[in-house]
Symmetry: C2
Subunit: 338 residues, 2 copies
């Protein structure tokens, strides 16, 4: 049906190998021949068959992107990671196979061992990520967005959640706040091993303790009415916090409405610091001071590192975890506690 390299060769009056070399640029071709080939390609509307090329070169020019999410996950934030990965990949000539199969391990094994992809990008990484098993068997390099305890041997990129927590606590401490409330990701995130949840919470607690601040922590919910119930509880606590730290997307999205409904003004009655990206803040019209999570940067850096592995060179440094520095963006939702 579609034109093949043989059709092009015939029309241009050259051999198939010459057409191939013209395509790949792997050896020099006379100007005249190249022109004839180019003409033939355009006349026939020829595009090399991807399967055939993959078979011959053992390269697909496709990267696999593996998502993972719970039934009740707050999905809107995920696209922030997917899009930069896709863009960066394409800018370097790679397409993206997006895998959302609930059978995580099977999907990784199937797509890598059938050589559908040249490399792997893991999203929503958990502390003990089951996908790393099949990934170790795979011949393709992989990169994780997130942090896994069993991630030795892999490149990974994640926000420095500990530092993010310290920045938030420090910021409020400097303003004189002594009683903080922290709303964390939902309990199930801890249970399934989302390490960012602990890393942030533990660092916040430790930092607060060092300064002699009180801090109460509360599992957030991802749905109403749970979201409001948790906020009610957190704010009506005996310690009556003067500042709120939010590490929970769904709660952040609902907060403006909640505050207004309860007649709480920020920063007037309550200082607020959230952990979220610029994009997320824009989408949800969040007027809160934030610690930037930089999904765009994480996604793009991860892809670039993966491409480095693919390019090989042998002299690459050993795979390791890298942490992106959080940045505090002041949007005026905090003020002095006095």
């Amino acid at each position: 049906m579609a034109a093949t390299i043989g059709d092009v060769a015939r029309l241009a009056g050259v051999s198939r190998s010459t057409v191939s070399y013209a395509l790949t640029g792997k050896r020099s071709i006379s100007e005249d021949t190249r022109a004839r080939i180019q003409e033939a390609i355009e006349e026939l509307g020829f595009t090399p068959n991807a399967g055939a090329r993959a078979l011959a070169t053992s390269q697909t020019n496709v990267l696999g992107l593996y998502l993972q999410f719970e039934e009740d996950e707050f999905a809107p934030a995920m696209l922030q990671y997917v899009l930069p990965v896709s863009s960066e990949a394409r800018e370097h000539g790679y397409d993206l196979l997006m895998v959302t199969d609930p059978d995580l391990e099977g999907a990784v094994r199937r797509t890598t061992s059938s050589a559908m992809v040249d490399g792997v990008v893991l999203l929503d990484v958990t502390f003990d990520d089951p996908r790393l098993g099949p990934l170790r068997e795979a011949t393709q390099p992989a990169v994780l967005i997130g942090y896994a305890r069993n991630g030795e041997g892999f490149d990974s990129f994640d926000l420095d959640f500990g530092e993010a927590a310290r920045m938030a606590v420090d910021h409020l401490g400097t303003l004189g706040h002594r009683d903080l409330a922290l709303i964390t990701p939902p309990r199930h995130v801890y249970e399934r091993g989302g390490s960012y949840a602990w890393r942030f919470r533990d660092a916040a607690i430790e930092r607060a303790a060092r300064y002699g601040m009180r801090i109460t922590t509360h599992y957030g919910d991802s749905r109403q009415p749970g979201i409001e119930a948790v906020l009610d509880r957190a704010l009506s606590d005996d310690s009556s916090p003067t500042a709120l730290i939010l590490h929970n997307d769904a709660t952040l999205a609902a907060l403006p409405s909640y505050l207004n409904a309860r007649g709480i003004s920020s920063p007037g009655d309550l200082s607020v610091v959230g952990l979220f990206s610029h994009e997320f803040g824009q989408a949800f019209s969040l007027p809160f001071t934030s610690i930037e999570t930089s999904p765009d940067q994480l996604g793009r850096q991860a892809v670039l590192q993966l491409l480095k592995r693919l390019a090989g060179g042998g002299s690459l440094e050993a795979p390791r975890a890298r942490f992106v520095e959080p940045i505090l963006v002041d949007r005026g939702s905090t003020r002095s506690a006095l």
Copy 2:
């Protein structure tokens, strides 16, 4: 490196063709032989090479999903369409190539003519969609999620936006409202040809006129502070509307916060009907009566129709546009105008 069908054949003591037939199930194999092959496959951890199989069968078992979005698009809603498409595809043995290349036409041409995909799903379809050109040249079947004027010859699935508008107007009309305000998608959606924008607005205007209701329409924004400015304008209009119809994701997300900030209660001071999905409402904690947009249903039906085309059978009916019926979900944000 990886085991091939030849390795399996050798280990099982049969020919490569027999292994292949065991794999595809296209001819009967003796119980004994099948068992030996199965054993060999497991021992070697064999998975058929996808490129080789694609080359031999002209089938990749991959579907292409093509996204399209503007720089300032409100992205969070998009995943609602992507995930069901991915799930439905996988449930039928297909993987998903997700394409976000800004060169829309080039990406469609490249991926179809190189036979990377067996079929095409177009998301974010516009009224005159440039991707349909290369798609007509393609040998693969395609399905659109959305509606395109130049879409003849293609299956497409979309919400019946006209009916959705009529439902919203009728609902408010029955409650006695005579003055409505409608916030539409941003102006650029009209400019680039998002037909759902016109279809909804035109139907709303016509229906309101028929009942002798007044309706003002306003282009929504997708970012603050534009969002609030538009709301201010819409509500302070001379006609002082008693009800608000929202066909704008970003405005919907910001509305709870806006209403509370302005001290407007709903439905006390203002009746509100929005066009959004159940999922979207949950994610953003939206307490508004809605016309359900059913992205899950649209995505899954689109994939199923595409798979029908792929299965062929010849006796398929001609491709056509299909419209999903909207459903009104009463969440109590409307009340009698009297």
